[in-house]
Subunit: 265 residues, 2 copies
Amino acid sequence: MQASEIWGERWINNALPMARTYMEVACRKQSLVCLAADRKTMAGLNELLDQVGPYLAALKTHVDLIDDWSVESWEAFCTKAKSMDLLIFEDRKFADIGKISRDQMSGVYNIRQWADLVTAHLISGQDIVDGLQAGWNDVGRNGGVLLLAQMSSRGNLLSPDYTDTVVKTGSIHDGVFGFIGNGSKPDDLKILREKVGQGKLIWTPGVNIAIGDGEMGQRYGAPDEAIRAGSDCIIVGSGIHKSEDPAKSAKSYAEISWKALLDRR
Amino acid sequence: MQASEIWGERWINNALPMARTYMEVACRKQSLVCLAADRKTMAGLNELLDQVGPYLAALKTHVDLIDDWSVESWEAFCTKAKSMDLLIFEDRKFADIGKISRDQMSGVYNIRQWADLVTAHLISGQDIVDGLQAGWNDVGRNGGVLLLAQMSSRGNLLSPDYTDTVVKTGSIHDGVFGFIGNGSKPDDLKILREKVGQGKLIWTPGVNIAIGDGEMGQRYGAPDEAIRAGSDCIIVGSGIHKSEDPAKSAKSYAEISWKALLDRR
């Protein structure tokens, strides 16, 4: 079965090359799982990748909190990730003006050269999306911007009005790959999907096979429910890397997510 | 004259060690000028510092867009900046949750080790301020967080309501040094100062001796008017580094800003 058939309206309505790349990767890997790989050492990151890479569609990184980062070790890590056919998603939360954000794609980390996806807040205005896309363009690469539409952190300022503005602006911007939503409440996610329409992708943290489990009172939603409610990728952290058998967990998340996508069609 | 006397209510009402450090530096340097040092090479940054360092109270950096950055060259640069008695202000615009932001203070750039000030958006909630302060605390250093209360970029989402929430939350948070406001309109700045009260510092871009001048239609305000309206530091970029004689320009900005502070008492 082709990606276009499996993803249906999403495929038809999102022509951003990176969006289609993701949809194809998800089909090849039979997984809608992105691992939140919040490790502070290259060894930790490599260990995770070796264990669970086969079951992932994407890997979410924070390059700027790795204490022993080097150009060479990172290049090797990214090469390995690519050989496992997964996208690299730098959760940088860009939040400056367009011109500065474009420059922040370069520098020592040179994010534009290896990241397929990045997150951005729309707080500074939509020029940030153009700036980030220009960053990729500067090195002849494609990429996609995920805008923060919702967060679950205490006291966050992404009010319903703010979310609506982000969705309204982002839904019609060519450089936007999709949105970060909250996967813990399927009903809220359905509402978000209605607002977003069928084109842009929604990626959601806040899911766990063990629903309701979570550190410090954080609540989780079920991965299959999130996908049926309109999520296109589940971002999983501790549910995989803190489990006794990360590979087995990752495989379960992949199977559940893939089955939910097929059910959703 | 003592800093406490010159800064008056601001000194009395802001006990954050880094806030008082800034007020003292400004008095020693007789300057309320922060240079926006947006250069992409270490040589460019060093050249700027050598030219205008004596006239600055602070230097605003974007460490992540310097193409030839290295641990050693940055350490030398910061040591030179400190020897010129100025604060280093990394305009990172942190915008993640508290825990991640704390970790983002480390990594290869190790911002906590050399930055005296950083910017943050309050979008993720006030835990970001605690996270950043914990970052400095992890290495036994003091620092201050400047929250984005206003931006001037096209289509930005810092609505009056958003600004009010940031000011209300930030004004009573011990870890907040102050706010980034907009220096181009003194009347708006007066309103912001009223909302902030007398404690927290307000730093303002958008000022230029040549009022109304600016790239792409950007409007500037007069530096002395900004300070009399309640700004405590003027962030100047092209007005200094694009002038024919940067040192002479920086000296003018310093003199104007210092005189305005003395007038304001």
